[in-house]
Symmetry: C2
Subunit: 227 residues, 2 copies
């Protein structure tokens, strides 16, 4: 996958029978590569903070500087781990900066500049019902990573059950399901990290068509109990 | 679903062709009901804390007392929301206490006493490859709920890619995938809250058979950056 590659055309060639009922899950890494969201670490001047952290935890100071630059807020920075809020509001390790599956020692990928826009472009070009751009995030309190949606086009990422009744006629109080994240997790089972399946077709899921965005999945600061 | 019901027999009757390749995802609510993990709120004496919180936020003080009793640590208690660590170490809203889909005004379900043991019993009785007991949890920073695994039998809940190589021959640094949570999320797409599909059959997923438990998904306090 080279910068400038026509990802939509590649998907169209690889998969038959894509129509409006299909949800396409696309791994962040392949989108970043196609969009040229790759940084040459040799061009980075590490700041004093990046140098001191890198030296303390045996990291590449250029990579730390890139992580800091991709962040708008550091959530936790402890024991060699940086959890930050990215410029677009995602809270994740290393601000989405990643060296794996990138050729060469001196390059790292960053998150797509606007994953919702990337998803929308892919949806239009491929002609599917919805697109989810996925990335693999850690969570507090639980071990292991899960895939979540960082870009969405064509479906409502949140399925709001409030006001609906449960099976005993009692109103469901606070049930809003993060459908886009559940789809991302399901796709993650198929993608696997080392197998290199960066695109997953999801058929048969009755999604709620909508002009919506993954940023609806980001909790607003004033509703965030964990700030 | 009545207390004492034979959930395994009901699943066996409802689904044909269950064998060692099948992963069964079972909603916590139905397991709790079958195991009688239902509490009669009329028998609860609210503590002063429960009464004061309930009065401030217009809640049922008996329900708050039950939530406190199911907790071993309060993680956040703010703006009417209680996030706690349950007696078994799950961090979630209301310690897993839930009034929805329970008949009657005066009853609530609690989490199964030992969800890993519940999963193991179901696995043996149904004769499937693996069982995951799922519950719907919120997350910090992200809107909406996703299903996660609170009980596991027969599969490794964590798929550890560390030491494996990426497609460019570089070692994957810290990639441990929470497979059981991704399976729970995939099943959650099918279960839906108001549809009442409490059991989902997953076929074709090549899981790692193991004598393992959902408690492997709980991050140890000393590795938890969010304590």
């Amino acid at each position: 996958m080279q910068p400038g590659a026509d990802l939509a055309a590649l998907i169209g060639h690889a998969a038959a029978g894509i129509d409006e009922t299909v949800v396409l899950a696309v791994a962040q890494k392949i989108v970043s590569k196609a969009e040229g969201a790759i940084v040459d670490l040799r061009q980075i001047q590490p700041s004093p903070l990046a140098r001191s952290w890198a030296s303390e935890w045996n990291k590449d100071p250029r990579l730390i500087e890139l992580i800091l630059a991709q962040s708008r807020r550091i959530v936790k920075m402890d024991r060699g781990v940086i959890i930050s809020e990215t410029q677009r509001g995602f809270v994740c390790a290393n601000a989405g900066v990643d060296e794996s599956n990138v050729p060469g020692e001196d390059f790292a990928t960053v998150l797509p500049a606007d994953p919702d826009a990337s998803a929308q472009r892919l949806r239009e070009s491929v002609g599917c019902g919805a697109v989810i751009i996925t990335d693999t995030f850690g969570r507090p309190w639980r071990e292991g990573l899960v895939d979540v949606a960082i870009g969405v086009a064509g479906l409502d990422p949140l399925d709001d059950h409030r006001g609906r009744m449960d099976r005993h006629g009692r109103k469901l109080a606070s049930t809003i399901i993060a459908v886009a994240d559940q789809l991302a997790a399901a796709a993650g089972l198929v993608m696997k990290k080392d197998a290199g399946y960066p695109v997953v077709l999801i058929r048969g899921f009755e999604f709620q068509p909508a002009e919506a965005f993954a940023r609806a999945l980001l909790r607003k600061p004033e509703q965030d109990l964990f700030r």
